[in-house]
């Protein structure tokens, strides 16, 4: 997402990372009990994954995160007036870039005085799934994070297995 953020900054798209609770707490990165815990975890993310976007923290009770649906790694695209234009269950750079470029075009078309009316679209997007890479990331958080994730993955309780592909 860092590359997308850099690419989209010039035409006027801001990008932020909003730090939530730990989705899969582990021994090294446990659940937060205080804002200091959350600050430490956010700094770790920043250095470990070289996040170059501004990182903002939600409060310790997750008020914002819960109000937006509470998914672990969702992405929203929101305009200056505070209207949600795009909302995805998971984060995928190609998906959000595609949406951002489309909405930049809409802004340009409005400036060109085209008459436009909004309508609702639903569609399925695709993201890369790399189980090994995911487990590597969780291993840095601790074995408990790995075990909890694997346990639900094997029970087919996670929502992003390639087997759920409706076929495109």
């Amino acid at each position: 997402m860092n590359e997308s953020a850099e690419k989209l900054a010039e035409p006027g798209v801001g990008s932020i990372f909003l730090y939530t609770h730990e989705a899969h707490p582990g021994e090294n990165v446990p659940h937060h009990q205080t804002m200091d815990d959350k600050i430490r975890a956010a700094r770790l993310l920043q250095s470990h994954y070289s996040v170059t976007r501004p990182i903002y923290l939600d409060d310790i009770a997750g008020d914002l995160h819960i109000a937006y649906g509470g998914r672990a790694n969702m992405t929203w695209l929101i305009n200056k007036a505070g209207t949600a234009l795009y909302r995805s269950d998971w984060t995928d750079a190609k998906s959000v870039e595609n949406a951002a470029v489309y909405f930049l075009e809409v802004i340009a078309r409005r400036k060109g005085r085209e008459k436009l009316a909004p309508f609702r679209v639903e569609r399925i997007d695709y993201r890369n799934v790399d189980k090994e890479k995911r487990l590597e990331g969780l291993a840095a958080a601790g074995q408990k994070a790995v075990d909890d994730w694997v346990n639900l993955y094997e029970q087919d309780k996670l929502f992003f297995k390639p087997g759920n592909d409706p076929g495109a």
Binding site: A23, A72, K80, A84, N151, L152
Partner: protein
Amino acid sequence: MNREEQIIDYNYADFDMNALAHVMKWVKHQPSVGEKVPDFPIWLLTEDEANPLEETTLTAVLKQNPLTIVEFGSFT
């Protein structure tokens, strides 16, 4: 649920079926596209170890650009 219970509930210690149930409950109430999103205070993580957080609001951040991508996530 009082504030203290919400903090414990939200910051679950184990990712298990109970944690998943929370997420499924929250998802049902998320705003739709086309709607104005709710505003909340958020805190910018600064480089300053003595003052690591700078308070603002999501609305204030959104006003800085015609469009803003907001990725939610954590280390884990």
